[in-house]
């Protein structure tokens, strides 16, 4: 046995004292990050050699990188050696075949979060690939989807069952060397979702994932890969919530989307992870890389996001418009309250001819919240006739918060048309008084005005999500006025 393998075996045998907050016995690798951690994760997941190779390349590259400092977010340094990089609910070791086999404690946790798997499955016709900590535990509607040739399930399953597809597309949109957090994710990602829609197939239901952060000090490194083959259509929902807790937690997910000729992907997110308390203590660090490539002609990718959670958000869902006539969209609402900080926006890279992109960003700041929009519209020389429209609105509640806008525009083709509009407004005391005089409470008035401000983005969300998003806004703004 090699030294590494020895150490590996030793580690596998060790018992770890860090149990789950919700009492699900966790099977965790020790704190810290080294090449051994990466090998251990890969081994735990019985991954083929190409995966381990890729992870190791990513890890070695990560060692040469340093954490980006250009965002407006301010936070204490993250100790990457003090993070547990892998943990799985113990009951996963013998995979549950149906929800009936799922740890009831786990199901109860979902219930508490308002995500009753069973009900949603029946009521909404949504197939749910639920990620509890790092491993998928319940995938529903798999059979129904399989009939159409749709592959939807955990990333680990896909690596085992469809290694060719994974190998072909993994890292093809977000290469492991893309940025510090993407490299970290590539090295240690534990699980996530995988979805492939075959040519000409319209996915008949919204596909959905619920993320949750639970294990103490466990960094979350999800990876999602969605491929819509020629003429395919899929709408994908991602929603997340986390329980109250004190330690800051790092979350560095990667989402890659690939749309081939005339394919369409709609990706919607409602994010309400624990934002920390009123003074900014606790809360999630959400450093995400999301990127879609419109690889085929006439393909179309839209990102819609409602971000109300996390202590710090660092996120720029982007589109690479490679195919001629392809379309990229980004619709975003980001809300920061108390001490939350958000640095978010989008990048639209126009490569193909007659490519079009739209950016609609709505930033809301309350309390001491800091909200920055950072966007890049890049029109390459090849992008004859490209068009972009960007709109960037900020709404301020109170006078302790702030909004910043950083639009970057690079145009290399003279036929391109790029429009940018921006506005900043404040919810005025006179507006609130006017509503109150009509019998409406301050809280209702604020959420009415905020929802009005966000309307344009909410209408892009699937119905069920739009309602959730509205509620979320009100909840997130509680105590910010009055």
């Amino acid at each position: 046995m090699t030294a590494t393998a020895n150490r590996l075996a030793e580690l596998m045998d060790r018992e770890y004292p860090h149990g789950f907050v919700s009492d699900v016995a966790a099977d965790t690798v020790p704190r810290g990050l080294s090449e051994e951690t990466v090998r251990l994760i890969s081994a735990r997941k019985n991954e083929p050699a190409f995966m381990l190779e890729w992870r190791l390349k990513a890890f070695r590259h990560w060692l040469t990188m340093s954490e980006p400092k250009w965002s407006t977010a301010r936070y204490p340094a993250v100790d990457y050696q003090d993070i547990i990089y892998y943990s799985a609910p113990k009951s996963m070791q013998d995979r549950p075949q149906s929800l009936a086999d799922v740890d009831p404690e786990l199901l109860r946790t979902y219930e508490k979060l308002g995500v009753p798997l069973k009900e949603r499955e029946m009521l909404a016709g949504v197939a749910i690939d639920a990620v509890f900590d790092s491993v998928s535990v319940g995938t529903t509607f798999k059979d129904k989807l399989a009939e159409l040739g749709i592959i939807f399930g955990s990333f680990s399953d896909a690596v085992r069952e469809h290694p060719d597809l994974v190998q072909q597309y993994l890292g093809s949109v977000v290469p492991y060397a893309d940025n510090f957090f993407a490299a970290l994710n590539a090295a240690v990602f534990s699980d996530g979702s995988f979805c492939y829609i075959p040519p000409g197939v319209r996915c008949p239901m919204e596909l959905s994932t619920y993320f949750r952060i639970n294990a103490r000090d466990t960094g979350q490194f999800e990876r999602t890969l969605i491929i819509a083959d020629a003429g395919a259509y899929v709408s994908y929902l991602e929603g997340c919530t986390a329980p109250m807790r004190d330690e800051n937690q790092l979350h560095a997910a990667v989402v890659e989307l690939v749309a081939l000729d005339h394919a369409r992907i709609k990706y919607s997110t409602v994010q309400n992870w624990y934002p920390g308390d009123k003074d900014g203590k606790g809360g999630i660090y959400n450093f995400v890389t999301k990127r879609g490539e419109c690889r085929g002609a006439g393909s179309h990718i839209s990102w819609t996001q409602v971000e109300t959670g996390s202590a710090i958000t660092w996120k720029y869902p982007s589109c690479i418009l490679r195919g001629d006539d392809s379309i990229g969209e980004f619709h975003s609402v980001a809300l920061t309250n108390n001490r939350q900080q958000a640095d978010t926006g989008s990048k639209m890279i126009h490569i193909g001819r007659n490519t079009k992109s739209t950016i609609v960003s709505k930033g809301i700041s309350a309390g001491h919240g800091q909200n920055a929009y950072r966007g890049l519209v890049k029109i390459l020389k090849s992008a004859e006739g490209a068009r972009n429209y960007s709109q960037c609105d900020s709404l301020l509640l109170g006078d302790q918060c702030a909004a910043h806008t950083f639009p970057y525009i690079e145009v290399k083709n003279p036929t391109a048309r790029v429009e940018h509009e921006a506005s900043t407004s404040r919810i005025g005391e006179d507006q609130l008084f006017y509503c109150q005089q009509r019998g409406i409470s301050v809280e209702d008035a604020v959420s009415m005005i905020v929802n009005g401000f966000c309307k344009e983005v909410f209408k892009e969300l699937p119905m069920e999500f739009a309602v959730e998003a509205q509620k979320l806004m009100s909840v997130s703004l509680e105590g910010s006025v009055g």
Binding site: S425, Q431, F433, C435, Q437, R438, G452
Partner: protein
């Protein structure tokens, strides 16, 4: 219905209302006139509960209850309505949405069932017809880009829908063309009833030609310096506020005199 005793209010330590006494009974219409800056809007807003103004003395009883500790929305739900001199624009919120939220809050407070969308639309369309308002205005953001006259009519529309017990109209007649003035007056008169009281803040006799007041008061320097019947307004129209100068001087506190 409304009993105001020695009401004093100030903003940033500067006194604006300097002891107002006013008694309004159900069924009555009171007109309040007075020069610019005399405190008419301040009085209206203090009654509605605006906290920009600090009440430094006096009492306000409405239907026998001290309303000074009440939040603005509670007062509104109890039936106090203020038509604003400068209606506020609320981008992103449609006029119809605000009105529906307002009505349902008030109905709920009165123990009435909420109106569903159909009932509500039927009601509002009927009221809009009365006000001869274009239905497009329902679906536009509250007051955003409304003309001056449209804003004022919108205030009266809201009043007609919410059916308050005490309506305070702050210069609702200003900025209206002749036809609009008649329509607004009709809207106000339609709401006159033995159960309701109204306070009309105005600079002009022409509104009072249509909505004939029971009492007219002149506010100057934060005090009511003269009260009378409807003929007082006519007298003011003829002679201006100048002839009240003596009374005004009397109202002025010693340090300013």
């Amino acid at each position: 219905m409304l009993e105001i005793r020695n009401l004093q209010a100030s903003v940033d330590g500067k006194p604006i209302l300097r002891g107002i006494d006013l008694s309004v009974k159900a069924g009555e219409v009171h007109a309040i006139m007075g020069p610019n800056g005399s405190g008419k809007s301040t009085l209206a807003q203090v009654l509605a509960g605006r906290d920009t103004f600090a009440v430094t003395g006096g009492t306000v009883f409405y239907q026998g209850v001290d309303i000074l500790p009440m939040a603005p929305e509670e007062r509104a739900r109890e039936g106090i309505f203020l038509a604003f001199q400068y209606p506020v624009e609320i981008p992103g919120v449609s006029n119809v949405y605000l009105l529906k939220a307002a009505l349902n809050n008030i109905r709920q407070h009165r123990g009435q069932a909420e109106l569903d969308a159909m009932e509500f639309l039927a009601l509002i369309k009927q009221k809009m017809k009365q006000m001869e308002m274009n239905e497009d205005l329902l679906y536009r953001a509250v007051n955003e880009g409304f003309s001056g006259g449209e804003k004022k009519r919108n205030e009266i529309l809201q009043m007609a829908v919410l059916e308050p017990k005490l309506a305070i109209l702050d210069e609702t007649d200003s900025g209206l063309d002749i036809d609009a003035l008649q329509i607004v007056a009709k809207g106000i008169n339609a709401l006159r009833s033995p159960q309701r009281a109204m306070i009309l803040v105005t600079h002009y006799q022409r509104l009072l030609d249509y909505v004939v007041p029971d009492f007219v008061h002149v506010l100057a320097q934060g005090k009511i310096v003269r009260s009378g019947g409807k003929e007082l307004a006519l007298e003011l129209e003829e002679r201006g506020y100048g002839w009240l100068e003596g009374a005004e001087a009397a109202a002025r506190p010693a340090e300013n005199a």
